[in-house]
Every structure is written in structure tokens, then in C-alpha cells.
Symmetry: C2
């Protein structure tokens, strides 16, 4: 279940690849069926919107939920990940971003890799994301904006005044610092001047695709998404695969295991019907 040469080339050139309706409606329904229970669980894995009520994201569900565990081993995403990274891979991170109807807040412009480099000791960007849309992503509900080709710039080492300010405002419990990576005030967001420069250089693209579509994207592509003021929720799952040849170096105060997995065993792919066998779950 590898990508075609053309798909592979697109990914390399643009830094992302959209595969429309990659998973079936039934597979999507199975996954969506797991969300209410995961969203209802009051746990540090869960990040809320600023309203303190709506679920913004849930982390590490692949270690608690059997269906999502199976998703991380699905050949439709494991094979492309191996192909792109050129090695065996393991699950580095797993998250569900909800972007709820009427409430889902924006994500600032950022590259993913810098978060992993600065916080987790990941030295090279031999890591990639597989995003699966559990709802249609359209022009109304906060489509993912990317700057195609911006991954070629590599990691842009931002040290934004915002970051300083946020850090200065931090009180007490330093262990909660990782939360800053998942709120609307992103810790390593790209400065406006840089986004403008990148947009002028590369243009901008809004990813719109039906539920079940997959988006593979580079850890250094600049991306963002606006708020969701529509009546349509827009939930996605992101499985981040790292090369087994790119194990992070130890850091002080590592982020929780449910944010950054320290299980470096290569994933083994299941069969293609991995999300369709309820009796096995």
C-alpha cells in the first residue's frame, strides 16, 4: 500500500499530499464512534478550548483505545510512512484535534518539527504526519492552510517575543508547560513577517477534502488553521511517525509519554481491514 511514484514526488515537492477518501465511510464511522467516550474522559490527555468546556484535542489515545491503536498500524498509513522516511517507523505522537462546530479555535502558523526538536530532543526531521479526516474539511469549518514547499526552508528557529511573554506569565507548575503547545497561543509560532515572506514566495493552499481522506505532511511545512464558526464539526486524527533511526536524545523534563511516545519498537502493519473487525477489538 505504498504511494505511487507520482504521489511520492508530490509529497517531496510540496511537503504534503492529499489522498481523497482514502478510508471508507464505514472505517470513518467506526473511528468517529470512539470520540464521545474519549472526549468525555477528564484527563491530562485532554486539552480544552479557551471556553474551558469544548474539547480541543485529545492525546495518546492509541495507547488506551484499541481501534486507534489499530489505526496506527494500518498499512495504508504505515507503508507510506516507511516509504517517505526510508526505514522502519514507530509512533512518535498521536492526537485527535476536534475543532468543534461554532467553537473550534484557530491554530497559529507553525512548523511541527521545532516543537519536537526544542522539547523532545529530536535531532533531525526524519519524521512525518499522517492525518485522517473524520469529517469533511471544507471552506467553512477551518480548513488546514499550508504553504506548499515551505518545508524546504528547514526548521525556522523562532524565538518570538510572544514566547517570552507567555513564559514570563507562567506560574507555578512548570510541568504543565507542555500545555502551551496545544492552546491557541502556540509556543513556537512563526512570526508574522516570516509567514508573509513564505506566502509571497510559495503561495498558500487550503486543504479541503471529504471525510476519510488522508493528508501526509512534512514536519517542516508551515501550516495553520482558522477558527470554526460553522455548524460543522471538523475532527481529525494525526499519527506522527518517526524513523527508528532517529530516536530522540534524552532531555531534561521530558514531556509526558502520552505526548511523546518512548516506545521505539517499529510498528508492524496489520491487514487492510484492521478497522473493520469489531470482534477483534
Amino acid at each position: 500500500m505504498e504511494l505511487t511514484q507520482e504521489q511520492f514526488n508530490t509529497y517531496q515537492k510540496e511537503g504534503f499530499l492529499v489522498v481523497p477518501e482514502y478510508f471508507s465511510q464505514l472505517e470513518v464511522e467506526n473511528m468517529k464512534g470512539e470520540l464521545p467516550a474519549l472526549f468525555a474522559e477528564d484527563s491530562p490527555r485532554r486539552v480544552l478550548e479557551k471556553d474551558g468546556d469544548t474539547v480541543r484535542a485529545v492525546h495518546g489515545s492509541h495507547s488506551t483505545n484499541q481501534l486507534f491503536k489499530r489505526l496506527t498500524r494500518h498499512p495504508k498509513i504505515v507503508s507510506p510512512a516507511r516509504q517517505i522516511l526510508g526505514s522502519q517507523v514507530y509512533v512518535y505522537q498521536f492526537k485527535i484535534n476536534a475543532k468543534a462546530a461554532f467553537s473550534g479555535d484557530f491554530w497559529q502558523w507553525h512548523q511541527d518539527f521545532i516543537f519536537w526538536r526544542k522539547q523532545d530532543g529530536l535531532l533531525t526531521p526524519r519524521i512525518m504526519n499522517a492525518m485522517i479526516l473524520l469529517d469533511d474539511m471544507n471552506e467553512f469549518n477551518g480548513a488546514l492552510f499550508v504553504i506548499p514547499g515551505s518545508h524546504k526552508e528547514g526548521m525556522i528557529d523562532v524565538t518570538s517575543p510572544q514566547l517570552q511573554e507567555i513564559n514570563n506569565n507562567l506560574t507555578g507548575d512548570k510541568k504543565q508547560e507542555w500545555l502551551l503547545s496545544f492552546t491557541a497561543n502556540l509556543k513556537y509560532s512563526l512570526p508574522q513577517e516570516i509567514v508573509q515572506e513564505l506566502a509571497l514566495k510559495y503561495g498558500m493552499y487550503a486543504i479541503k477534502a471529504p471525510a476519510g481522506s488522508a493528508v501526509f505532511f512534512d514536519s517542516n511545512i508551515a501550516h495553520a488553521s482558522p477558527n470554526n464558526i460553522s455548524p460543522f464539526s471538523r475532527s481529525i486524527v494525526i499519527v506522527t511517525y518517526n524513523s527508528v533511526e532517529n530516536i530522540p536524545v534524552p532531555v531534561e523534563n521530558p514531556r509526558p509519554e502520552f505526548i511523546v511516545s518512548r516506545d521505539y519498537l517499529p510498528v508492524e502493519a496489520l491487514s487492510g481491514d484492521a478497522l473493520l473487525l469489531p470482534s477483534l477489538i
Copy 2:
């Protein structure tokens, strides 16, 4: 410079009409050239974003700025307004909405007429908006979302709990109450259930058009716009025309003249080059 029969029919049916590139690039440049001075003026006419710094809107500039005064008398918008309202018209309201790059906040779902009815004593919706885009409005910078046909529902009399809450939180200066109509917490926003219902019934449409385009829209069409996280500012001018046969009844605590004009004299149209004669300004 009236609308064609087809354009007129579209307006009646959908509740809005987009006329792409209605004003020339030069006319747009002339208008944009006026913005910095208007935005810089520290005045009650000016509404800021939540950041307390970025300009969100400026009101009533047609009474202080000669070019925008001329815009309100431009035959390209006065004639359609007369045609749609079936009478002479006067300028009820004038505003510039900035929606600045990276900062412009969203506008909640609402109908315009209820604001005018509840606050200004306007009894019937024989009133309409002419919006002129001073920048391209695209899928990245907070396009205007409308629910086509929703104007046929008439005014939906919302009494939202939010409103109660906002009102309860109001301190001291009651005269500033009008401000609530222009912040992200809209006083008469439509409840989520109603927006969902309308969207299911009528669908949703995102208006995207180049700078210079005009959008005529009904005072009862449900509309909203998301935040602008892009590097592209998206400024618009909205001239609201009321029928001279629809003069509001007196109300207690009327809003300021720069929000609701009490000059009921019919506008007289200028010639088509009204925005191109700098010597006359």
C-alpha cells in the same frame, strides 16, 4: 446603472448579489489611500479588536471624509439601492471593517436588521447593504459566509443568554452599550441551533471575490465571517441605504449619529467618475 433583471432576481431569491470587479483598481486604490488616516484617528468612531491595538472597524467616515462621502453618492451603488428598495434612499449607516492580516477577529452569525429594529426604532426591513471590497476576499482571509435565501425567514427575534450575560456584566457608562454591536460578542447573534437549522435548510456560501467587487445584501440574510489568520488584510466598506419611506421611530437613548444617521434627505447620485476626481475632493 441599475441591476439587470437577472441580477435583481438573484438578489431577491438569494438575499445577496455579488458583482465582481464593479469598481476599478484605481477607484479601489483611491479608497484604500484614505484608510491609514481614518484608522489612526483615536475617536469613538473607531472600534478596536480584543488585542486593544488593531483597528476592527471605523464608523460614519462618510461624514468626515470627502472621498467616502462621494462613494455613498456613487451611481453604481445608489441606483441598485433605489431599485431594490423601490424608492429614494438615504444613508443609514456607513462603516469600514478592517479584518487585519493575522489579527482580524470573527463576526458571529447574525442578521443586520434586528440591530436596527431593536436599537434604532426601524420598523420594517426596507433597507439594504452595499459592500465594496477594498482587498481581495479569498478563502484565507475571512471570507463572508452567507446562508443564501435565509432572508426569507424574516427577522429572527433572538434573546440569547449571552446577551443577558453581557448586559449583566456591563458597568457604568450605559452610553457605551452600542459598542456591543461591533465587537466579536455580538449583541443579537443567532443561536447555534438556529444557524444549524438554516444551514441544513438553505446551505451555506462563502463569498470570494477580487478587490473592487460589490456585494449587495439583504438586511435579514444570516451571515458571519471567520478570523483572518492570513498575511492578507481584508478591508471592506459597507454603505447601508434605507428607504426614505422607512424613517425610524424615535427611541430612548438613540445610538450616536455616526452609527445611525438622522439625515433623512435622499442621496443624489453623482456622476460615474465620482471617485476619480481628486481635484474635487
